[in-house]
């Protein structure tokens, strides 16, 4: 998998001191099952974090807590200076600042690509339709599918759909982007086009949290890799150190399995 992206071209790091997200002693249960245990994480603006780990380790749940798609039961999450509470207005405010891409794209099948991209800006940001369409076309050009704007999601390939999903999130001008296994549901030849889009986004200094198994992407783009197991952060480090010199036994095993072929 690591050969999907050339490793020669590393993204320049522009991380500011400003803090984008802080997670303090966050715990989450599904019923009695303790999914996330004492998560502590601080993300600076412009940081690009890749979260890896075996399935069931809670990595998706972690980033879904950040925009309150999942509730946490203990601890505090602060996004962009706003403390996440159970108040709906507060949650909607954070969600409109945080973009998210899903494994299964979750485009709206009854709307055209353009309508998918303009819906939230028009209804949440109250931007005039013309302006929202211009913005949408700008981002569709950025993900290189402006010519599909009037089609419906069902007419596009998986890779194209995922790029539309990224464009849809970007149209809200988010300050933080969350990616929940964006390439896991794609055919191999479509993974690259989506990763290219994400690399481009990283180069522009977007704060990104990516749950992914694309270790090539992690090496090239991330300035921190977090490894999770059994609902806990087991190891985190800069990508070079993380891949070349893992400390924890669990990390070593995982890396040998995922990079071993």
């Amino acid at each position: 998998m690591s050969d999907v992206l050339p490793e020669t071209h590393n993204v320049e790091m522009t991380v500011s001191d400003e803090i984008a997200i802080t997670i303090e002693n966050m715990n989450k249960w599904y019923g009695t099952f303790h999914v996330l245990r004492d998560i502590n994480l601080t993300v600076n603006r412009g940081e690009r974090i890749v979260i890896a780990g075996p399935s069931g380790s809670g990595k998706s749940t972690l980033i879904r807590c950040i925009n309150a798609l999942e509730e946490h039961q203990k601890g505090a999450i602060t996004v962009d200076g706003t403390l996440l509470s159970s108040d709906i207005k507060n949650i909607d405010k954070i969600r409109s600042e945080v973009g998210m891409c899903f494994q299964h794209f979750n485009l709206f099948p009854h709307l055209t690509i353009l309508e998918n991209c303009t819906l939230a800006p028009i209804w949440v940001r109250k931007i005039p339709k013309k302006e929202a369409e211009a913005t949408a076309m700008h981002f569709l050009e950025k993900v290189k599918i402006p010519d599909q704007a009037l089609k419906y999601p069902g007419q596009l390939s998986g890779g194209q759909q995922q790029r539309v999903a990224i464009a849809r999130s970007l149209c809200m001008k988010p300050r933080i982007m969350l990616f929940d296994e964006p390439t896991s549901a794609l055919d191999p030849e479509m993974i690259k086009e989506v990763l290219d889009t994400m690399v481009e986004l990283a180069e522009e200094g977007m704060t990104m949290l990516c749950v992914t198994h694309e270790m090539g992407f992690a090496r090239q783009v991330a300035n921190r890799v977090i490894f999770m197991d059994q609902g806990q952060i087991v190891e985190q480090n800069e990508p070079e150190e993380f891949f070349n010199n893992p400390q924890n036994e669990r990390t070593k095993l995982f890396l040998s399995q995922i990079l071993g072929h």
Binding site: R95, F108, W123, G154, S169
Partner: protein, 432 residues
């Protein structure tokens, strides 16, 4: 192929074959008949039997239709003229068409009013049914239509529907004013301000009962197919939004709302419609303060609407359950609030899935409006069973009258069904 020599492998064509028509036995009607009607002995026999039945039915029906009499004054006279020959006594229709369509007490010189309301219905429904072809400005007319139709059909002063309309407008404006602060507060403000307008307007319309007044026709004078049509249109258009709210309520996280909806839906679905109609007719009066008159048609509308909205709620719940969870999550993650994500994302898709079920309920509901004949309202069926068949002139005419009832109901129900199939094709955007 035919001029290729089997023994020589090398082959060069020097003349091109001209295009030829296929053999006559392989195309056209002959082949179609052979393929579809007489492919083998068994199917040929079936075809012949079917043809025989079709012939028998037409042989009975057509002379009856063609030999029918349209101008006699009574059944006895009709039978006398026919003198044993085959033919229908359609003169019951030419003589009683007005009763069949409008009921026997609607003043004949006012027939133009419900007729006009009927024609205007098509204009009012057009932007809702064919949104993509009709300018959206027509929607203003659609909003006004219920008030115009009420005034036309029931008559009386125009002040009454105007006050009703004003109440809705004031309520809406109050809602918009408070909406930003709190949704529940806005709802309360809307209800209170609308109620105030209606209360004050009640005195006003009493005082101005002569303003632009059409002769008043009370509800008990409504009848015939008109009554079925009023009940059908009003109840379908009310039960769809109520059904949507019930379906959403049943999915709600708020336990009290959820359980109110569940109990309502399960209770109404567990009770026969005819029971509810008897409740509307008789029992409801015991629960109302003495002296209050509560319009019978209004009571029936409430009952039928409750009944069908419970069914529609369940149909829509099925549509909601069919949507992947990702659609809710995507809408949430973009920052859409509950009302927006329901209206823009969830409902358009859930309703599309639910179209066949909703149409099923709507068609059933329209036909069930004939049940009001059991609580002695003279709808089309009540009219036939009651005044017409009981009259001395027409006692004994069955086929002609029930045939007429079929002729009234079938096109409407078939039209609804065709429309829904067209709509489904129109909305198919997922290209699976």
């Amino acid at each position: 192929m035919s001029d290729q020599q089997a023994q020589s492998v090398a082959f060069v064509r020097d003349t091109m074959l001209p295009q030829e028509a296929p053999p006559a036995s392989q195309t056209g009607p002959v082949k179609w008949v052979r393929d579809n009607l007489f492919p083998d002995v068994f199917n040929a026999v079936l075809t012949l039997i079917a043809l025989f039945f079709i012939y028998k039915i037409l042989a009975g029906f057509l002379p009856w239709l063609m030999g029918g009499l349209w101008t006699t004054a009574s059944l006895a006279e009709c039978r006398e003229i026919l003198d044993g020959a085959t033919g229908g006594c359609f003169s019951v229709l030419t003589e009683r068409w007005n009763q069949l369509l409008f009921g026997f007490k609607y003043p004949p010189d006012q027939y133009w009013r419900p007729t006009l309301a009927f024609v205007m219905l098509f204009v009012a429904a057009a932007p809702l049914l064919f949104a993509m072809y009709v300018p959206s400005k027509v929607l203003y007319f659609t909003a006004l239509y219920p008030f115009i139709a009420f005034w036309l059909i029931w008559g009386g002063t125009i002040v009454v529907p105007l006050v009703a309309l004003l109440g809705f407008i004031v309520g809406y404006m109050a809602f918009k004013k408070v909406e930003a602060a709190s949704f529940a507060g806005a709802l309360g403000a809307a209800i209170v301000s609308a109620a105030v307008v209606w209360f004050v307007g009640g005195f006003l319309s009493d005082a101005m009962s002569g303003v632009l007044a059409l002769p008043e026709v009370p509800s008990r004078d409504m009848g015939g197919f008109m009554l079925n049509f009023i009940l059908g249109v009003v109840c379908v258009s009310l039960s769809l939004p109520i059904g949507i709210l019930l379906a959403l309520g049943r999915q709600s996280d708020m336990p009290i709302i959820k359980w109110i909806c569940v109990v309502f839906i399960e209770f109404i679905r567990g009770v026969p419609l005819i029971t509810l109609l008897f409740v509307a007719n008789v029992v409801l009066a015991y629960f109302l303060p003495p002296g209050t008159t509560f319009d019978l048609i209004l009571r029936v509308i409430i009952m039928i609407t409750m009944f069908s909205s419970a069914y529609i709620a369940e149909v829509i719940r099925g549509g909601l359950a069919a949507l992947p969870k990702g659609q809710y999550e995507a809408a949430d993650s973009l920052g859409l609030d509950y009302a927006q994500s329901m209206r823009l994302i969830i409902m358009p898709q859930a309703l599309k899935i639910s179209i066949p079920g909703i149409v099923n309920v709507a068609v059933g509901l329209f036909k069930d409006t004939t049940l009001v004949s059991v609580i002695s309202m003279f709808d089309l069926v009540g009219m036939i069973r009651g005044p017409i068949l009981a009259s001395t002139e027409w006692n004994g005419v069955y086929w002609e009258l029930w045939g007429f009832a079929i002729l009234m109901f079938f096109p409407v129900c078939y039209g609804i069904s065709q429309y829904s199939q067209w709509l489904e094709r129109k909305l198919a955007t997922d290209h699976r």
